[in-house]
C-alpha cells in the first residue's frame, strides 16, 4: 500500500538536466483540479459544520431500523448494523478524518520545513545532523511506526496525530532542503549577499517564496496519505476509538456484512477513495499550475 506519498518527489537531480524555456507559458488550471478543489471544500465544510448539517446523532443506536437500505425515508444513505444513520456518521467521520490529517500535516509541515530551511541554508554540522535524523525517521516503514506508537501510547487521536506528524516531517524537510539548495546558489542571491543583505532577509524574501509552492503541493498530497494511513489503522482497530465514527472502522465493520448488506461497506469505502483522490488530484493540479514546464508530465 502506497501509504505515504501518492506521488513521490524525485531525489535532488543534478542541476544540469533542467531545460530552458524561451517562451513564457500560460498557467492553466485543469478541470480536474477545479473539481478536486470543490470536493475538498465540500469536505471541509462538512467537517466544520457537522453538528449543523448532520440529520442524526452519529452514535445514537436504533436496533429496530438496522440495515435500512439507502434511499429510504429519512435515511438517505441508510443505517448500519446498530441502526445508526450512515450519512451522519459519514459527516462526523469527515470531521475526524480531516482533523487528524490536517493537524498531523500542519505539524509536519511546520517542523519539517523549518528543519529543511535551516539545513539547506547553513552549511554546518547542523545540516548533516538534521538530515541524518530525517533519514533515521525514513527507515521506518510508515505503518510500522504508527503501530509502534499505538503500542506505546495507546489508541486515540492524539497518538495518531503525533505519529503521523513524525512520519511526514522528513518529506517536508526534504522538499524545503532541495529548494533551498537549488536557489541559494543562484546569482541574484549571491548578489544580494554581496550587497549586505542579512540571512533572515534572504530567507524570507527569496527562499521562502520558492519553497512555498512545492510545500503546498506536498501539503495536499500528505493530507491524502494521512487519510489513507489513518483509515488503514482504524480498519485494523488501532486508530480512532469507537464509537467515534471513522471511515476506516466503518469499512472494517461493514466488511462483516458484505454478503448481505454491502452498502454498509461500500459507502464509507467510497468516501475514503473520493477524499484521497480529491486531495491527490488537487495536489497534482497545484503542482502543474506552479510549474507549467511540467506540462504533460503531471506526475
Amino acid at each position: 500500500m502506497t501509504a505515504t506519498t501518492p506521488a513521490t518527489e524525485q531525489p535532488t537531480k543534478p542541476a544540469t538536466t533542467q531545460t530552458i524555456r524561451t517562451r513564457p507559458v500560460r498557467r492553466r488550471l485543469s478541470v480536474m483540479t477545479i473539481i478536486a478543489g470543490a470536493v475538498v471544500v465540500i469536505l471541509a465544510l462538512m467537517a466544520i459544520f457537522a453538528p449543523l448539517i448532520s440529520p442524526f446523532d452519529p452514535i445514537a443506536q436504533d436496533p429496530a431500523i438496522r440495515f435500512t437500505p439507502p434511499g429510504s425515508d429519512g435515511h438517505i444513505l441508510g443505517t448500519d448494523q446498530y441502526g445508526r444513520d450512515i450519512l451522519s456518521r459519514l459527516i462526523y467521520g469527515a470531521r475526524v478524518e480531516l482533523l487528524t490529517a490536517l493537524s498531523a500535516t500542519l505539524i509536519a509541515a511546520i517542523i519539517g520545513t523549518t528543519i529543511g530551511l535551516i539545513a539547506g541554508y547553513f552549511d554546518t554540522a547542523v545540516r548533516s545532523i538534521s538530515m541524518r535524523a530525517m533519514d533515521v525517521l525514513l527507515t521506518f516503514p510508515p505503518l510500522i511506526l504508527a503501530l509502534f506508537a499505538v503500542t506505546l501510547y495507546g489508541q486515540g487521536m492524539v497518538t495518531l496525530i503525533a505519529a503521523l506528524a513524525l512520519l511526514f516531517t522528513p518529506a517536508f524537510a526534504r522538499v524545503a532542503f532541495a529548494q533551498v539548495l537549488s536557489v541559494r546558489s543562484l546569482e541574484y542571491v549571491e548578489a544580494a549577499k554581496l550587497y549586505g543583505a542579512k540571512s533572515p532577509t534572504i530567507l524570507a524574501k527569496v527562499i521562502l517564496p520558492n519553497v512555498a509552492g512545492p510545500t503546498v503541493v506536498r501539503f495536499t498530497l500528505t493530507i491524502a496519505a494521512a487519510i489513507l494511513l489513518e483509515s488503514g489503522l482504524s480498519y485494523l482497530g488501532l486508530g480512532i476509538v469507537p464509537p467515534e465514527p471513522s471511515w476506516g472502522s466503518m469499512v472494517a465493520e461493514g466488511q462483516r456484512y458484505m454478503s448481505t448488506d454491502p452498502f454498509v461497506l461500500l459507502i464509507p469505502a467510497a468516501a475514503v477513495v473520493i477524499s484521497v483522490l480529491a486531495f491527490a488530484v488537487l495536489g497534482d493540479g497545484i503542482r502543474q499550475w506552479l510549474d507549467p514546464r511540467s506540462g504533460r508530465n503531471a506526475r
Binding site: 443506536q61 438496522r66 448494523q81 446498530y82 495507546g154 469507537p242 464509537p243 462483516r256 448481505t260
Partner: protein
C-alpha cells in the same frame, strides 16, 4: 508506440494472463452435492479452519479457545466429556467415586504416549501432583490444590484423596488442560506437544497451520475414523467463513454471528451453535457509586439485553437476567430470573441510593473483541437512559485484563466462559484472588460459604439448598451483571458426521468429538 513494441508488450502481458487463467480453472470445484448416502469417503482427511494460531501448549494452563481445541485433539486425561457434556472415562477404563473426597481410577492396559513411552499410574500421579502445585498455574488449580495425595497401589490403579468434598472434581479431570502428559512436560518451559490423545502433531508451520495424524496407540484408536486433520489458521472471521463457503475447509470454529444466516441458507453446510460463554458487567466495588449494591442492581435493570442480542449477536444470543447455569441441573428461577428490564425502577433505585440525578463514570471494554466493544457501546446507551453518563475506555485485551485485575476501572464489560457446566464455575467470578474475571474487591463470606457448601454437599437436596442460598445473596449484592450468553457456532460441510458442539461452557472443547467423526462421500 510502434506496432512492434505494442505486439511485444501484448505478448508479455498475455503470458501472465494465461497463467492466471490456467490456475483459476485448476481450482477444485465446489463441493459436489451428495445425496444423503452415508458411505464413508476414501479420503478421511479433515480440513479445519480455526480462528487463530495454535499456541505452544504449556502444561495445565488456560490458553483460551485455541489452546483447548489443540489440547482436545492431541491430549487426553483420566476422564473426558462425551457429546452430551457428560463426564465419561477416557484414559481410565473405569472410575469409582468412593466418596466425594476420594476418587479411584483404573487405567487401560498398554497405554502409551505419542512417542511410545508408557503411561502407568505413576505417570498419572506425577501429572496430577504437578497440576496441584502453585507454580504450575494450572487452570483447575481451584480444585487441584485440594489434593492431599495421589496413591498408586499398582501400575493401573490411581486413587486421589482430597481434603474436602468436591462433587465436581471429575469435571476438572475431564478438562482438556488436565490431560496426562509425559514427565518431561511437567514444567513451564517444555512445549506440551506429546500427549495421549487420538491425534498427534506431525507438522506445525508458524502462522499457517498444524498437521495432525491419527495416533494408532490411542486407547480407542479403533473408533477413530479420521486419518488426519489439517488445521489451518484463519484469524479473520469473514475470511474463515469464506474458506468454508468456497470449500477450502471442511469445518470452522467461531462462526461470526452475522454469517449464521448465510451458512444456514447453504444446503451443503451445517451450522451448529450453542449458547455458551457469557458477556457480563464487572464492577470496582471498593469505591465510588458502584460500591453500593443498589446501584449495581440498578445497572442490572437498566441494560436492554434484547438490544445487545440484536445489534451485537444478530439475535443469536440468549439474554440472561440472573446467572446462567449451563447443564440444567440447577437451572431454577432463583438463578435465572433475578432481574427485569425496567429503566424506571432502575432510576428509582438510583434515587434511593442517593443519586437522583445520576452520575458520571468511565466504562471499560476491550477494542480487541468486537462483540465486547459493541456490547460496551450498547450498555453505554442504556446507562445514559437512567442518568449514568459513561465515557468509553477501550484498550486492547492485555491492557484490559491488567487493569481489571488491578482494579484500575470503575465499571467494565467483559466476557468469558466458566470452567465447567456447574454452579461451581461462579466461584472465581464472585470472589477469590484478584483476576480479570471477577469484580474488584468483592468478597462476601456468606456467599463464599454457600458456594463451597454447594460444591461439597453430599446429596442433591443439600446442594440445591446451598446454591439457592447463594443465588439469594447474589441477587441482593449483584456482584456482577450477566447480560447474555453468546451463541458459539461451528459450521461444517454436510459430509462431516459425528461432530458435536458440546453444550454450555464446554462448547470450546467440541474438538473432543472429532475422535468420533468421519467424512462421508
Amino acid at each position: 508506440m510502434s506496432r512492434r513494441n505494442r505486439t511485444r508488450i501484448l505478448k508479455a502481458a498475455a503470458f501472465p494472463a494465461l497463467l492466471a487463467l490456467a490456475l483459476t480453472s485448476c481450482s477444485s470445484a465446489g463441493s459436489s452435492s451428495s445425496s444423503g448416502a452415508t458411505q464413508p469417503a476414501d479420503d478421511q482427511n479433515l480440513t479445519f479452519g480455526v480462528s487463530g494460531e495454535f499456541p505452544v501448549l504449556k502444561t495445565g494452563t488456560n490458553q483460551g479457545n485455541l489452546g483447548w481445541t489443540q489440547a482436545a485433539l492431541i491430549h487426553r486425561g483420566l476422564l473426558s466429556y462425551d457429546e452430551t457434556g457428560e463426564v465419561v472415562p477416557a484414559l481410565a477404563k473405569s472410575f469409582d467415586i468412593v466418596d466425594l473426597a476420594t476418587y479411584s481410577f483404573t487405567l487401560h492396559e498398554g497405554l502409551t504416549f505419542h512417542d511410545g513411552s508408557p503411561i502407568t499410574s505413576t505417570t498419572v500421579a506425577d501429572t496430577l501432583n504437578y497440576l496441584a502445585s502453585a507454580e504450575s498455574g494450572s487452570s483447575g488449580y481451584a480444585a487441584f490444590q485440594h489434593i492431599t495425595s495421589v496413591d498408586t497401589p499398582d501400575e493401573l490403579t490411581v486413587v486421589v484423596h482430597l481434603d474436602a468434598n468436591n462433587s465436581s472434581f471429575p469435571q476438572y479431570l475431564a478438562d482438556p488442560t488436565a490431560a496426562i502428559v509425559p514427565e518431561s512436560s511437567l514444567n513451564a518451559e517444555t512445549p506440551n506437544t506429546i500427549g495421549a490423545g487420538p491425534f498427534q502433531i506431525v507438522d506445525q508451520q508458524e502462522g499457517v497451520g498444524t498437521t495432525l495424524e491419527r495416533f494408532d496407540g490411542y486407547y480407542d484408536a479403533d473408533n477413530v475414523q479420521l486419518d488426519s486433520i489439517d488445521v489451518r489458521y484463519y484469524a479473520d472471521g469473514t475470511a474463515r467463513t469464506n474458506a468454508l463457503l468456497s470449500g477450502d475447509v471442511d469445518l470452522i470454529d467461531y462462526v461470526p454471528w452475522e454469517q449464521f444466516s448465510t451458512i444456514e441458507g447453504d444446503s451443503n453446510l451445517v451450522l451448529t451453535s450453542q449458547p455458551g460463554p457469557l458477556i457480563y458487567v464487572q464492577f470496582n466495588t471498593t469505591e465510588g457509586p458502584f460500591a453500593d449494591p443498589q446501584v449495581r442492581e440498578a445497572v442490572a435493570m437498566a441494560v436492554n439485553r434484547d438490544n445487545i442480542n440484536t445489534t451485537v449477536l444478530e439475535g443469536n444470543g440468549t439474554p440472561v437476567y440472573g446467572v446462567a447455569i449451563p447443564g440444567g441441573e440447577f437451572d431454577t428461577p432463583a438463578a435465572t430470573e433475578m432481574y427485569e428490564y425496567d429503566p424506571e425502577a432502575a432510576k428509582e433505585l438510583l434515587a434511593d441510593a442517593g443519586y437522583p440525578d445520576g452520575f458520571a463514570a468511565e466504562l471499560s471494554a476491550t477494542s480487541q473483541y468486537a462483540f465486547l466493544q459493541d456490547a460496551g457501546i450498547s450498555v453505554q446507551a442504556d446507562l445514559a437512559e437512567i442518568g449514568i453518563d459513561v465515557t468509553l475506555n477501550t484498550p486492547d485485551w492485555p491492557t484490559y485484563t491488567q487493569n481489571a485485575a488491578a482494579g484500575n476501572y470503575e465499571i467494565g464489560v467483559v466476557g468469558g466462559g466458566g470452567t465447567l457446566n456447574d454452579p461451581a464455575y461462579l466461584v472465581p467470578w464472585l470472589g477469590g484472588a484478584a483476576s480479570y474475571v471477577n469484580s474488584f474487591g468483592f468478597d462476601d463470606p456468606a456467599l463464599n460459604e454457600a458456594l463451597q457448601a454447594g460444591i461439597s454437599a453430599a446429596d442433591t437436596t443439600a446442594r440445591e439448598d446451598a446454591y439457592n442460598t447463594a443465588f439469594g445473596i447474589i441477587k441482593e449484592q449483584t456482584p456482577i451483571v450477566q447480560l447474555i450468553q453468546r451463541a458459539q457456532g461451528f459450521a461444517h460441510t454436510a459430509k462431516l458426521e459425528g461432530f458435536t458442539n458440546l453444550p454450555g461452557f464446554l462448547t470450546f472443547y467440541s474438538a473432543l468429538s472429532l475422535a468420533d467423526a468421519s467424512l462421508s462421500e
